[in-house]
Symmetry: none
Subunit: 244 residues, 2 copies
């Protein structure tokens, strides 16, 4: 497979960005590395003159950027989601350094759209946003001050995947058909409904059950048929439970 189509299937998703200048600078960063897909989830200000100014020669990337009402919408048709996070998390997301993640992201892109998600400048990715990611990607940084500017982090990510694409012309044969984010969300909704209706989960006090299950299935990387199987199983359990 040619390298460029794989890069075209990588989308940069900026969630809840506060400063429009960062959106423009990120668009420029994408374009310098040959990427083009920019998704904006609930940007505080967009379009905005600061975004346009900092995009410089990448105005076309901004014009084609898709503004989404939710992260779920931005991820709906993706087959793999990587969240960028500087902080150490104590839950069991698989974590990779950017350089080792890059070829894996391209492998997944051979099969469908792949999202690289960046959270808000100040607060990063929320737990809910993290719950939609299959892997966390960390940019190695100074432990005493690892606060990269958002567009700088996007620049590094775009650089690494671009270099990996150049060095990565032979795709691995993969026969697995991965589930889309939308179908996985439907599965989580079904599991939650079943857990509530059985009395196992108190909807008033959901605790961390769904968060834990999200992380478990994210690690596994669900296939399309597995989602269908689990959807059927939980629906049957919800409607009929144990037969008398």
């Amino acid at each position: 497979m040619d390298a460029l189509p794989a890069l075209d299937r990588l989308r940069i998703v900026l969630s809840r960005t506060s400063h429009p200048g960062n959106i423009g600078a990120a668009a420029r960063a994408l374009k310098t590395m040959g990427l083009a897909q920019l998704f904006l989830v609930q940007p505080r200000h967009f379009p905005h003159e600061d975004a346009t100014a900092l995009a410089a020669g990448a105005a076309d990337i901004l014009e084609q950027a898709r503004v989404c009402a939710s992260l779920e919408e931005a991820l709906a048709d993706t087959v793999f989601v990587a969240g960028f996070s500087a902080r150490r998390r104590d839950l069991s997301h698989r974590a990779l350094e950017l350089r080792e993640a890059a070829p894996e992201l391209l492998d997944h892109a051979a099969r469908g759209p792949v999202a690289l998600v960046f959270g808000n400048e100040t607060s990063g990715l929320s737990n809910d946003e993290l719950g939609r990611c299959q892997v966390l990607v960390a940019i190695p940084a100074n432990p005493a001050y690892g606060s990269l500017n958002l567009a700088a982090a996007v620049q590094l990510a775009a650089y690494e995947v671009s270099l990996a694409a150049g060095a990565h012309r032979v795709p691995l044969p993969r026969e697995r058909a991965l589930a889309t984010a939308a179908s996985v969300e439907a599965l989580f909704a079904e599991i939650e409904a079943a857990a509530v209706s059985s009395g196992f989960l108190d909807p008033e006090e959901p605790g961390r059950m769904m968060e834990r299950l999200r992380r478990l299935f994210a690690r596994a990387g669900l296939e399309r048929e597995e989602v269908n199987l689990l959807l059927g199983l939980f629906a049957a359990l919800r409607s009929r439970g144990g037969k008398p």
Copy 2:
């Protein structure tokens, strides 16, 4: 030799920078990657509030930055000088891509100060400035639009030398408490019993459902707490199912 002293001997030299915001953003980029030496040759505006604002938590790098009247002054004590240039030059400079240049720069830094020189935002390095460089370093970029922002280029350079120095390892997530094989078998038995009692699975014709689920959970690598959670969930679904 320890990696950190080598990084301390790498200096970023920004020559004739037009926009003070880029100086601040470059200071932040340096600090996030564990570099600290910033030299400014004839900056158009410095100090400046835009520089301070964009430096964010790297104000110390700005305060310690050395302002020089000439590139010659900034390079006086260096043992090796690398010029960053996006354009193709037909002069007889040795040219390297950033990734291959990074370890060489560190090698030289073992012997003394090494400069990474970045020219003006618009015009790049002048011929006179190029004449003071021993090697040209290029950042691989989109041939159709390779115009990196100055601070973005500094970020990439600092990232590559920092990784080459092995300076910052991303800590691995905490050790996970994996489930024992016996507890995983107990979980599979519970899932199968629930699937049969709901009518979803015909015990006479089990098909490949359990085989598929085994493969899925094997990929994920179940943790002890996840097994307990799933055991509880399936047991509740089996005994109560959907409440009437």
